[in-house]
Amino acid sequence: MTSEYLWLLLAFPALGVLVNGLVGSRFRETTVAAIAVSSVGLSLAVALGFFWKMTTAAPVARIVATTLYTWLSDGALQIRVGLLLDPLAMVMVLVVLGIGFLIHIYSASYMKGDEGYRRFFVYLNLFIFFMLLLVLADNLVLTFVGWEGVGLCSYLLIGFWHQKKSACDAGRKAFIVNRIGDFGFILGMLLIIVVFQTVDYRELATIVKGSHGVSPGIIALMALLLFMGAMGKSAQFPLHVWLPDAMEGPTPVSALIHAATMVNAGVYLMCRVSPLLGQSPEVILVISAVGLTTAVYAALSALGQTDIKRVLAYSTVSQIGFMFVAVGSGMYAAGIFHLVTHGIFKGLLFLGAGAVIHAMNGEQEISRMGGLFLEIPATAVAFIAGLLALAGVFPMAGFFSKDAILWGSFEHFGMTFWLVAFAGALLTALYCGKLFGVFFGPKKYDGHLHLPSRLMVWPLAILAAGALTAGLLGFPMFTKDTVFARFLGFPATALTADAGALHNLEIIMTVLQGVAILAILTAAVYMFTKKKDRMAALGDAFPRTAALLAGGFGLDRINDVLLVRPVKILARFNARIIDSRIIDGAVNGAGYLTMFAGRLLAGLQTGQLRHYAFSVIAGTFLVLGTALYFAGLF
C-alpha cells in the first residue's frame, strides 16, 4: 500500500503547531482556530484514506509500514524512526483524529476570548502530533518519545490556567506520578534491548513467538515493567491519583487527553506488546487484578464526588480499569473495543459537562445544578445518551463493549472475578444515575445561562450518534468473531477454537446484566432527581463515609504521609544540614582557596613587558623541548 504517504498523518498537526506557534500571534482567533482545526481535519482525511484502503485490502495486507530515518544504529540494535499502521494503530488513529477533530471544533468556541487561545491550540495540535507518534511508532523507543510528548502536553494543558495555583499543582502532580510509571517503562525497554537486541514490535513478536530460550521470569519482568508505565499513563491504582486533579485543565482537554486518547495509551501499549503478555500468565493476572481493583475502587470514588468533572474523571479511571481487565483476560479486541466506545462516550460526556459548566458560568458542583433539561435540551439529550452508553444500557455502545469484557473475565477467571467486575458495572450505573440529577429534578440555578453555540452542539450531536451506533461494531453478538475483532485481526489467543460458537450461559448472563444495570440506573435516576434532597441528607448522615468516597479513600492523604512528607523532611534536612554546612562549606572553601592562590599568583603580574616576554619564550622552550624529546632528538 501507499506507505510513502504515512508521514503526512504526522505532518499536518506538526505544521499546525509551527504555523500557530511561530507566526500565530498576528492572527485573529478565528484564523488560529481554522488553522488548528484544518490541520487535524487534513490529517483525519489522510487517515480515512488509509482506512478505506485497509478495509478493502486482504487481511494479511493490512499493514502499512515505512522507515523514515535510522535514529541509532549499534550492531544488531537498530532504532529507527519507523511508522507502522496496522489495524490496531488504525483504530487508535481514527479515535485520536476523529474525536480530536470534534474536540478541536468544540474548543474553537469553548475557549473563545481566553487570552491563551493561541497557546491552547498550539498545545492541542502538539498533543495530536505526539499521540499519533505514540500510536504509529513501530518500536518501543519511538513510542516512548510520543509517550513523553503527550505527557508534556498533558502537563502543559492541565496547568493551562497557570495563574491558578491548583492548576499548576495538578500539572506537577500529573508529571511526577507519570515519572514513576515512566521509570518502569524505561527499565522494561532497556531490559528488552539487553535481552532481545531489538525494540521493533514486529521483530519482537517474531522473536518471542519463536524459541528464544529466555527464561519466562525475564519475560514476565519485561511485561511487568512495561505495565508499570501503562499504569502511570492510564491512571491505574495506585498511580491514578493524578487524573482527578487533572480536571483543573480546560474541559476540552479533559475530554481529549484525559478521557479519550492519552490515558488509553497504556491499554494500547499492552496490546502492542501482547506477545510478551502471552508468555507470562502471572503478569496477566496482575494486570487483571490491578484493572479490577481500579474499576471498582474508582467507581466507588466517583459516587462520592460532588464536582461533575471529578465524577467523570473517576469514571474514566474505572472504565480504563475495565479495559485492563479485558487485556488481562487475553481479550485484546474487547479491550480496544471498549477503548473506542469509551473514547466516544466519555469524550461526549466531558464535552457535555463543558457545555453545562459553560452555561452555568463555570459552576462545577453537581449539587447546585438541576432541571437544566429544558434550558439546554440539545446538550442534555447528548449528555444523557453518553450516560446511557457509560452505564451500559442495551442499544448503546457501552453495553456491547462492557458485556464482552464481563463475559471474558468470567470465562477466563471464573465466577468470583466476574462478580466483582459486575459490581463495578452496577456502581457505574449508580453514579450515572447521579449525573441525571443535573438535568432533571428541581431547578437550582436561577442566574443567566450561556447557551452553547452551534460549534459546541454539533460535535456533541455527532459523538452522541457515535455513542448510539458504535455498538454495531460489536455484532454479531455473543461471539468473539465480531466485525471489530475481525478488522483488528487479533488472534483471540486460546479462544480461537470456539470463536464463532454461541454460549447459552453467555446469553443468560448478558440479559441478566442488562436488566440489573437498567434497574439500578432507573432506581438511581429516581433517587437523584426526585429525592435529591434526601440523597444529600444521606451524605450528611454518614459524613465520614461520604468524605472517604469523595477523597478517593484517602489515597492522597496516604501518599502525603508516606511519600510527600518524608521527602519534605529529607529535603529540609538537605537544605539545613547538607546544603548549608557541607555544600556551602565546600563552595566557600573553594572560593577562599581561589582567592589565596590568586593572591599568590598575582605576584607574577608585574606589569613589566619583559617579564611577560619571559613567560612567552619560556613556554615556547617548554613546548619545543618536549616535542624534540618525544621526537627522540635528545
Binding site: F621, L624, L628, A631, L633
Partner: protein, 169 residues
C-alpha cells in the same frame, strides 16, 4: 669564493645585530639595523634568492626603517630613557643569556634530525622568478590577498592609534 663572501657577510650581520642591541641611541640602532638588512640581502643573493633580496631592500630598508627613523625624529627623544638595564644585574641579564643559549642548543638539537643532513647535502638548481610568481598568484593567491587586507587594516589601525585624543583624522 662564495664561502668567503658568506663568512664576511655573516660576521658583518652578527656585528651590526649586536650593535642594534648595544647602541645607546635609538637612531644609531636604526642605522645598524639598516646595515643588517643590507647584509641579509647580500646573503639572499648568495643563496640564489634574488627576488627576496630585492624585496628585503625595498620593504625593509625603503619602507620599514625609514618609518622608524621618522618616528624617532617625530618624537625628538630627549634621551630620558634608561637605555640599557644594568648589565651586572644578574636577575635581568640571566634570562637573556639563558634564552640565547637555549635557542642555539634547541635549534642545534633539531638540526640533528637525519632529514636535514640529507637536505643539507642537496644542491638544487636555483628556482626561477617565473616559478615563484606563478605559485604566488595561483596556489597562494588567497593568502596573498588576505595579507593585503591585513596591511590595509594595519594602516588604518596605525592612524587611529597614533592620532591625538579627540582629533579627527
Amino acid at each position: 669564493m662564495e664561502t668567503v663572501i658568506f663568512w664576511i657577510l655573516s660576521a658583518f650581520a652578527v656585528a651590526v645585530a649586536l650593535a642594534v642591541v648595544f647602541f645607546k641611541r635609538a637612531v644609531n640602532g636604526v642605522m645598524s639595523l639598516l646595515a643588517l638588512m643590507l647584509a641579509l640581502a647580500g646573503l639572499y643573493v648568495l643563496m640564489g634568492a634574488p627576488l627576496v633580496a630585492f624585496f628585503q631592500v625595498i620593504v625593509y630598508v625603503g619602507a620599514v626603517l625609514v618609518l622608524f627613523a621618522f618616528v624617532i625624529m617625530l618624537l625628538n627623544l630627549k634621551e630620558s630613557v634608561q637605555p640599557l638595564i644594568s648589565l651586572v644585574d644578574v636577575k635581568a641579564v640571566a634570562p637573556a643569556v639563558l634564552f640565547a643559549v637555549g635557542i642555539v642548543v634547541l635549534t642545534w638539537l633539531a638540526l640533528r634530525d637525519a632529514a636535514f643532513s640529507k637536505a643539507a647535502a642537496l644542491q638544487q638548481p636555483v628556482i626561477g622568478l617565473r616559478q615563484i610568481a606563478l605559485d604566488l598568484f595561483t596556489k597562494h593567491l588567497l593568502v596573498f590577498e588576505l595579507a593585503s587586507v591585513v596591511l590595509l587594516v594595519a594602516a588604518v589601525a596605525a592612524i587611529v592609534i597614533s592620532r591625538k585624543e579627540g582629533e579627527r583624522p
